[in-house]
């Protein structure tokens, strides 16, 4: 994949990037993938070369549902990235995917960072950002062929307690 530009930032994904290239190639096809261990079968949220649980170096891309829950969040009131200034304040969320939640150990999960967007692909209203709310993946397609997975609130009711800090 060549060099892309996204919100004034240069995105460089090299042809030999064995961690992230396949992830973004799948995103362009509007598929969300994680790596699956060919030996123990466990998925991993960070697409590294080895399995954190059995050390196997064998893996394949594995498509996931793109559904999950907000595990933590931050509202960026002040950004140091010039191209994000028109977005501020904007949310960044840590999403725990439904697959393999709490596995193999309690507290483990497949967790991805993304912006929480509304139906117009603009930052979601801060009052709607809360730990525990259900989300689903959406794809932000750039004109130059770069697609960035993002998340939006889903219609599903929360499965557990919902919390946000009242500032």
């Amino acid at each position: 994949m060549p060099v892309y530009e996204y919100r004034g930032q240069s995105i460089n994904i090299s042809e030999n990037d064995s961690e992230y290239l396949g992830y973004f190639e799948a995103a362009r096809e509007h598929r969300l993938v994680v790596k699956k261990c060919l030996d123990c079968g466990l998925l991993r949220g960070e697409p590294g070369p080895g399995c954190p649980w059995c050390t196997s170096l064998g893996w394949e891309w594995h498509e996931v549902s793109g559904k999950g829950t907000i595990y933590s969040y931050q509202i960026v009131a002040h950004t140091v990235v010039p191209a994000f200034r028109d977005w501020a304040p904007f949310p960044i969320v840590l999403v725990e995917l439904d697959e393999q939640s709490g596995q193999p150990n309690p507290g483990d999960g497949l967790r991805l960072t993304a912006n929480l967007l509304d139906g117009n692909m603009e930052p979601e209203n801060e009052e709607n950002v809360a730990i525990g709310r259900r989300v689903e993946v959406v794809y932000m397609d750039g004109e130059d062929g770069f697609t960035l997975p993002q998340f939006k609130l889903s219609n599903e009711p929360p499965r557990d307690q919902v919390w946000r800090y009242q500032t």
């Binding site: 060099v3 996204y6 919100r7 930032q9 240069s10 995105i11 460089n12 994904i13 090299s14 990037d17 961690e19 992230y20 973004f24 991993r44 949220g45 960070e46 590294g48 954190p52 595990y71 933590s72 969040y73 931050q74 509202i75 960026v76 009131a77 002040h78 950004t79 140091v80 990235v81 010039p82 994000f84 977005w87 304040p89 904007f90 960044i92 840590l94 150990n105 309690p106 507290g107 483990d108 999960g109 497949l110 967790r111 991805l112 960072t113 993304a114 912006n115 801060e126 730990i131 960035l148 919390w163 946000r164 800090y165 500032t167």
Partner: protein, 406 residues
């Protein structure tokens, strides 16, 4: 039980430049000054210092440049990539290098134009660089600065344990009170909880502007040698009882894949450092708990076991961490008020505390004469401080700790 090298090595020299926002010179020039000041403090000549170590984030000057500037010829040097929590770990490595016969005396330095050149907060050079590798999962979403990198930990901790912004603000208030008695501090003004709460938001819900440390231009240096060698030197040696780190959480850079994400590396580093130093929490008179943000201090107090998990909010609001309290923290004002140095100034401060020669506004501080009047513009020496502990923070997943004795 104490480790076999406990108390056999010591810190004999400390040096700093001015803490400023606009040094007007290079990291090389500042590094040379800090090392020279530490050599003078120790009473060491160029031929006496045969080891150099430093850490950097692509923003400093190599040992092999500064050796020329000070006429040193190291038998051992190592410049490594590192940030917060490197200071303590490098002291441990210096002990190892000397014990292994690689050299006799090591100057450890950190030099950074952290305000006027490469800013840790990401403004400028770092935000303009291309995005590649693991950054592809963060920076396209506008996540680049240190506080953003840590914020998922902070927010989750607020939910799990009910921490409020007001409670966090108490840390800034305590450190600002300390800084008001530090002529070197970049921000000497005492602030209130309301001042912190009224400062603008950087990241909701975990960081107002005044919850964040001060990007600073400075260099700092610590000189380590053996207890035997220290006998001939100028200062009262401060003995290194134990060092641990940089230790990590499961997952390292990708620690958010593993829970609990509200736990930090001190959970792993803490028991080991107390063990190797052979001391207990109650033996410690003064702490240097890394304050890149108010929240880093609170989390480390919990995970190093100064209180139960979830009770950090009570610990930091109880008065324990204030000068005059049971165990004052960051008596220089720390990164929040003295200046951001990637941790070395907090070790330097504790060396001075244990020497009894804190450089405050007491007229005869150089002779170790203090008033112990902690009101504004007065004293910041802890009375009879004998044992100190530093807790360095790299990320939620990375930390180091060191315990020293006078």
């Amino acid at each position: 039980m104490a480790g076999k090298l406990s108390g056999k090595y010591c810190i004999v020299g400390i040096g700093e430049t001015e803490y400023s926002r606009g040094s007007g010179r290079t990291t090389r020039a500042m590094g040379a000054e800090a090392i020279r000041n530490a050599m003078n403090d120790a009473g060491l000549k160029p031929e006496d210092v045969d080891g150099m170590m430093s850490y950097h984030g692509g923003d400093s000057t190599p040992s092999t440049a500064i050796q020329y500037d000070l006429g040193l010829r190291p038998n051992f040097y190592m410049d490594c990539s590192g940030g917060g929590s490197s200071t303590e770990a490098l002291v441990g490595l210096a002990v190892g290098a000397i014990e292994g016969g690689m050299c006799d005396t090591v100057a450890i330095f950190r030099s950074m134009n952290g305000y006027s050149q490469i800013r840790i907060g990401g403004t400028g050079v770092r935000a303009a660089s291309g995005i590649t590798g693991p950054e592809l999962f963060r920076r396209p979403y506008g996540l680049i600065s240190a506080v953003q990198t840590f914020a998922f930990t902070f927010t989750r901790h607020m939910m799990e344990y009910g921490v409020t912004s007001e409670q966090l603000a108490h840390i800034k208030v305590a450190h600002s009170n300390h800084a008001s008695n530090n002529p070197k501090a970049l921000m000497k003004q005492r602030v209130t909880v309301e001042d912190v709460m009224n400062s603008r938001w950087i990241i909701r819900p975990c960081a107002h502007l005044l919850d964040c440390c001060l990007e600073t231009d400075n260099a700092t240096c610590i000189i380590v040698t053996s207890a035997e060698r220290a006998k001939d030197l100028k200062q009262k040696p401060i003995f290194i009882l134990g060092v641990q780190g940089r230790g990590t959480k499961p997952g390292g850079d990708f620690h958010y894949q593993h829970g609990p994400i509200s736990r930090v590396a001190g959970h792993y580093v803490g028991p080991r450092v107390f063990d190797v130093a052979g001391v207990k929490h109650d033996d410690v008179d003064v702490t240097g708990c890394y304050d890149a943000f108010t929240y880093t201090t609170l989390l480390q107090f919990e995970d190093y076991g100064w209180c139960e998990k979830g009770e950090g909010k009570d610990y930091v609001t109880s008065g324990i961490i204030n000068l005059g309290g049971k165990r004052p923290n960051n008596t220089s004002g720390g990164h929040l008020c003295e200046g951001y140095t990637h941790g070395m100034n907090m070790v330097i401060e504790n060396v001075r505390q244990l020497r009894g020669t804190i450089d405050d506004y007491c007229p005869d501080w150089k002779e170790g004469k203090h008033t112990y009047d902690y009101s504004e513009g007065k004293c910041r020496q802890v009375k009879d401080a004998e044992i100190s502990m530093n807790m360095g923070w790299g990320t939620p997943a990375v930390g180091s700790a060191m315990i020293m004795r006078r």
